[in-house]
Symmetry: C2
Subunit: 421 residues, 2 copies
């Protein structure tokens, strides 16, 4: 029954009952971590063949004849470029293959814009730099922008991606130099930008001529069920508008092979690739080509990656189902929270009653379950509604996940009843 | 016989004879590359066991209990820190283990100083930033400084390291914010800073309170013969002066295991480590810990690395001997060039007659042997004497090295005779 429709006596009785249950939880001495989108050990085990020495020893040379063990080939070996070109549906010449972290690539790109500009004045010399940030979003994106003193402006997410009316208005401000977003299975909501949204993004006419969109396609192949989302190829949409220079796409195998030991990639226009290579040439002789070759030879092609993702999905899908089942059975009809069922990605986004998210996280923490901090999904850690909580179901084993979700739902109800009292 | 002491007729006759030899070389259609300090394939073969999957599969957890395949442990796994702590003789807590490139670490550190400062004002907001550059030096160091608009000031190298009288004078200028150097088996001369030099460096009292020395200890274990150089521990020297914050030491296994697939490290004061970690926390979740664990388990300890270096030395020492023998037999007594016999490192530094280095490199290139470009060992590519040539003997197989050296010596003589004519 919807909490709002209950009598205050009934709410008080329920609160008291739930407080008892909460005390029982506290007594259990739990110590569970649902704070980050980390793969579980069972997922990691599926990639162990990637470490097979024979993958390299069979032939230490990449397709271009370079010994991958030695210096050289700054922008990535051809077979690894080909793998990502097929996966992301972009020409290989528009790709750079990096080291282990697309986060690092995004950081480096923003740092590059600060010190050397994105074709225009270095951003550090501008009086003000702002970025549009679809919210809720990814805390580590916001951390990069904050670190460089870039002012973040919230743009609400809709079911189709960022609210384009708001964004179109915003980019008329020349201080707004870019946007950072996860266009497919977004972090945390699992929203995929609609074709119409991608087309409107491609058609943006920002006042800033060096406006850049960091298109973090982190979950490009991370489907969870049979119903999958399709993301329009942003470069094709941009080609129709001549706006390819706006897009800096990144992706990685962090949640395909090994987090921290995968391969990251940037896809961008010829102009942007050439511009960024000027920095790379100073920054490094090259990234880990042995690891690039491992990935290229193990996965072989996009089909190889998709087949691998199916095996990972078999592990992930029950975890997401457990989360959604718990939410439905415990919170359905209470009016205490809202959530969406994502078709992919790494998170379930939960919106509790306004003003309750911090309380829910605090209650959970006190009982031994760490969630992503309330507010983390907004710039500066400030959720204006104090409502959004990111659930990361992938890391805990199934039994722990069940207990954690039971506690989380209990805390959501407790916070809601406290608020309504 | 010294060319200068020859009659002009004798010089003309010799020049004519050598020109004939040079034409014969040109007719051979050589295509050899001695431009970079790359290990040869025979060296790389000695590290192939490092790729053994069992090194990881035996236990995927690092000593701190973290699964190295997953996210986390931003500053490096404990066993890898311990390995470098022993090797560099610094406390493990003063170390950060990175990804595959110490060049990238140095770039990131300078970028960090530009945008966020080294404890003071961000360098990009200062009217002028200068760095002391011992010359000849490493072109990629100079490229980083040039990229960020840092003005480079040459400091001559002596047999004991940078000319300290010059350096002590220079750091009185507050615009001089740092120095970048290779203190052991320097690139290209193979000079190791004397204990006295290290002590005088530690005792520097720069006008700039955030003066930083990038101490690129790239060749810390790269001995070539039985006579080895010892480098005083710079942090111990600084401790006596309270100047530890001046030093940012870096090193890597690029020329121990695999270039591009090794592990890099920074050693610095507690203050500098804490400061840099603030950036790292935004920049990355962590570096490749699987590769860190590979290195830690394969080499085990400093003794393991030293034993490995002995095996590499057995390959390198004959190559260096071939270079030095060729120089001695072809150029000894001619007065056309000077060189030193390094006890370690990756290069032989050759000083030809002033005004002749570019000519020598051009002659070699025309005959099919690519050397490091003349001038590369100086900031802005400008060797004031046009005299220094860096010889990189490690990459070519022995037979190619012999031919390349024969040609190089011939070109040195040709250029000298042309000049004296």
């Amino acid at each position: 029954m919807n909490f709002q429709n209950m009598t205050s006596e009934a709410r008080a009785a329920l609160l008291s009952e739930l407080q008892g249950q909460y005390q029982d939880f506290c007594a259990k001495g739990l110590k569970l971590d649902m704070s980050r989108g980390k793969p579980g050990a069972d997922q990691l085990a599926l990639s162990m063949e990637l470490l097979d020495a024979a993958l390299i020893a069979q032939d230490v040379k990449a397709q271009n004849g370079f010994d991958v063990r030695n210096y050289g080939v700054m922008d990535g070996i051809p077979e690894c470029k080909a793998l990502f070109a097929e996966l992301l549906d972009v020409p290989a010449e528009n790709l750079i293959v990096f080291g282990n972290s697309s986060l690092n690539v995004m950081y480096d790109y923003v740092a590059h814009c600060m010190t050397h500009g994105a074709g225009g004045t270095p951003w550090s010399r501008l009086p003000r730099v702002k970025f549009a940030c679809p919210v809720p979003g990814y805390d580590r994106h916001f951390a990069i922008l904050e670190y460089f003193g870039i002012e973040m402006v919230n743009v609400p997410m809709t079911a189709e991606g960022p609210d384009m009316d708001v964004l179109e208005q915003l980019v008329r401000d020349e201080d707004v130099r870019g946007m950072i977003c996860v266009p497919k299975y977004s972090n945390p909501e699992g929203t995929t930008f609609s074709a119409q949204t991608v087309r409107r993004i491609a058609a943006l006419k920002p006042a800033a001529k060096d406006f850049r969109i960091i298109w973090d396609n982190a979950y490009c192949v991370h489907d969870l069920g049979d119903t999958t989302d399709e993301l329009l190829n942003v470069f094709e949409a941009c080609a129709a508008q001549g706006s390819e220079d706006m897009i800096i796409e990144v992706a990685s195998t962090s949640k395909i092979s090994f987090p921290g030991s995968g391969v990251a990639v940037m896809a961008a226009s010829a102009k942007n690739i050439a511009d960024f290579k000027k920095q790379m040439f100073v920054q490094t002789i090259g990234h880990d080509k042995i690891n690039q070759l491992r990935h290229a030879r193990y996965f072989k092609d996009a089909a190889g990656i998709h087949a691998h993702m199916q095996r990972l999905r078999a592990i992930l899908e029950p975890k997401f189902r457990a989360v959604l089942d718990a939410l439905e059975s415990e919170l359905g009809g209470t009016g205490a929270a809202q959530w969406k069922t994502p078709n992919g990605g790494y998170f379930v986004s939960l919106d509790v009653l306004p003003g309750c998210a911090k309380r829910v996280c605090a209650l959970c923490a006190e009982a031994g379950v760490v969630l992503t901090g309330a507010g983390a999904t907004f710039p500066y850690g400030k959720d204006p509604q104090d409502s959004n909580i990111r659930i990361a179901p992938t890391f805990p084993p199934a039994n722990e996940l069940h207990i954690a979700m039971e506690l989380l739902c209990l805390c959501v109800k407790l916070a809601a009843l406290e608020k309504l009292s």
